[in-house]
């Protein structure tokens, strides 16, 4: 369910962003996220950005096994 892929915002025109996923470019809707910025990574699902990627949390797994995990 919820097949999604992370991509980088290259350009924003009104409520549409051109997102890049390793060379592939696709226009996606920005209607359901707040304050998107060029250069940020977003999770793309069914033609829309559904959340920004929190890059600071990108290393959860490595941090967890290094004993630095936090519970939700």
């Amino acid at each position: 369910m919820c097949w999604s892929v992370p991509g980088k915002i290259l350009e924003i025109k009104e409520n549409i962003a051109t997102v890049e996923i390793s060379g592939l470019k696709k226009d996606v809707g920005l209607d359901i996220i707040d304050d998107p910025k060029v250069g940020e990574y977003v999770v793309v699902h069914a033609g829309y950005a559904i959340q920004k990627v929190d890059e600071e949390s990108a290393n959860f797994t490595i941090d967890f096994f290094n004993g630095k995990h936090n519970n939700a």
């Binding site: 369910m1 919820c2 097949w3 999604s4 892929v5 992370p6 980088k8 996923i21 390793s22 809707g29 209607d31 359901i32 996220i33 707040d34 990574y41 999770v43 699902h45 069914a46 033609g47 829309y48 559904i50 959340q51 990627v53 929190d54 890059e55 949390s57 990108a58 959860f60 797994t61 490595i62 967890f64 096994f65 995990h69 519970n71 939700a72």
Partner: protein
Amino acid sequence: MLKFIDEYRDKGLCADIVEKIKAISKKRLKIMEVCGGHTMAIHKNGIHKLIGDNIKLISGPGCPVCVTSVEDIDMVLALSRIEGLVICTFGDLFNVPGTGSLTLDKQRAEGADIRIVYSVRDVITLAKEEREKKFVFISIGFETTAPTAAAAIIQADQDGLDNFYILSLNKTMPRALKAILEDSRTDIDGLICPGHVSTIAGTDMYNFIVDKLRIPCCVTGFEPSDILTSIYILTELAEKNQAKLVNAYKRAVKAQGNEKALSIMEKVFKPSDVQWRGLGNIPDSGLALKDEYSRFDVLNTFKIDRPTSISEKDCICGDILRGAKVPSDCKLFRNICTPSNPRGACMVSSEGSCAAAHRYGD
């Protein structure tokens, strides 16, 4: 190199986590995942074969295609027979059978105008380009996808589109999770929580599972190291008889979810009672259009004759979706129920447990 994907597929990292899981795994445990994406990822990578014999992974009802009722599929097929109405659907639904094994694929061969789309945005584009036709978007999906349908309706409203409709078959997870997990036939030691449903809806909906049912929960992503990490976390908690909620997918999930998406959903949709294939009626688990947007509901404009819907005898999808039985327990599995001729929920979608078991050879 695909950023935020390949790092989580690292062989060495995954092998390490597998060893750690095996090192702590002493009890026989059943861990359920309730997301078709997780089912797929587990089978595609063979994760269930790597984690040792003590831990059994079972698939719950997290595939929105699988849980779409025969009645709803029959409704879609009936709409496809209306002259001048174009059916726009995700590819997932194209080969799903209704009564009498009828599918959208077969209807297209009979002359129905059916278009496969990647996004509801494509339907808006089509509706603007082909003004003489009417377009209905078959809206399936859980909380991940529902906000996109809501956003499209708001846009159609603003643009004054009069040839765009939706059929909302969207469902929400919380009540279904309750129905399954509070059923006495369900017996699990840990829950891998959906990833992108949580991205939208946040993680509060899992609190009752931890607090009341004392089952540990872990929200996780879809890459192999994500899933293995969640299996480790749940195993560690279950071994110690601890019930906690852990968010292991913080790069895409905040505890409060995506508040903008939720408010858009709330603006357009209201809860409704709907049928889940294999699970029956679950109150307040569907999404219907609110009155101010009811003109976009295709059933308000087009009347259809629905045939009596017939479900397959001997189908045990309900038990499989609850985790009480496995595909090989079903007498139809691989016999007459196959991916090219699916008879029940769990085989219809490429992500259902029976489809995954069949495809990946389990």
